[in-house]
Symmetry: C2
Subunit: 150 residues, 2 copies
Amino acid sequence: MSEIDKGISIVRLLKEVLQFIHKNAENGFKEMGITASQGMLMKILSHTGPKKVSELSDIMGISNSTVSGIIDRLEKRGFVERKRSNEDRRVVYVDVTSEFKNDAKKNFKQVEKKIDSIVNQATKEEIDKVFEGLNILKDIMSKQNQDMDN
Amino acid sequence: MSEIDKGISIVRLLKEVLQFIHKNAENGFKEMGITASQGMLMKILSHTGPKKVSELSDIMGISNSTVSGIIDRLEKRGFVERKRSNEDRRVVYVDVTSEFKNDAKKNFKQVEKKIDSIVNQATKEEIDKVFEGLNILKDIMSKQNQDMDN
DNA sequence: AAAATATATTTAGTATACGAAATATATCTA
DNA sequence: TAGATATATTTCGTATACTAAATATATTTT
């Protein structure tokens, strides 16, 4: 495999894997009328309670502005609401609505369980190898990033 | 680490790695005024010659419609051109323009070299582990996909 | 306290990304 | 050969994703 193919193969494989994951989540959440990203955000909120926009960005690994857009659409659906913090008025807390808790949460839990079971199929050794490979790749890329700053 | 965290961690790590790669490519191609995806397409074309839209989709692992959009923007920049096939009029071949070959190709090669060198920094063992981890993850996800069809 | 600086979020603009529908052309079938 | 079916690409609508700029509020400095 040439150097060219190596780079492109890794990128394609990464995308392929993310697409599989996305597909699985998408299929699960579809029946609730929400997308995979929206489902991931709901998952975090319903497990750990109200979160700042910036906290959600950190957890999900995407930018504040993207989270803001996802919240916009979930708010329209009536699943989450924004609440301006009283301690620091710059901060916005996002939380699930009581409407969601009453109407959709039960269904959501079932979907969630089905999606979680995918990772659970893997053995501990497999998961370890997945993390090892990804961390190696991350190190290679981030080391290069530092070099480029010089 | 709980099952919930495990799933979200993997997704976040995958995204992080892809973002690093994207960042590196973006930084490189920026000076040419093209994006990372556009650069990847140019790389393929300039190494292997004219390609069908559908071939580019397969190589890059993205859909025809997305490739079509990327070609639109590269065409506006004057870097590629579309040519309807004479053998099969449904087919469109995409190729670099002579304008690109004369003006930008030299610069492009240098940028390309710099980006390729990133993967080359890694040892063979590291690359093998990366592929091993990614393939395990891919198998886990695709196995689940089949189960869901039942 | 007014100005400067810092922090948190949203908005605006651009580029992906997808699926479904539309278009165009090819090929097969009755 | 006309109609049905298949294939290739583009267009359209929606959802992400990013950065930079705008907005809002906090904190520090002078």
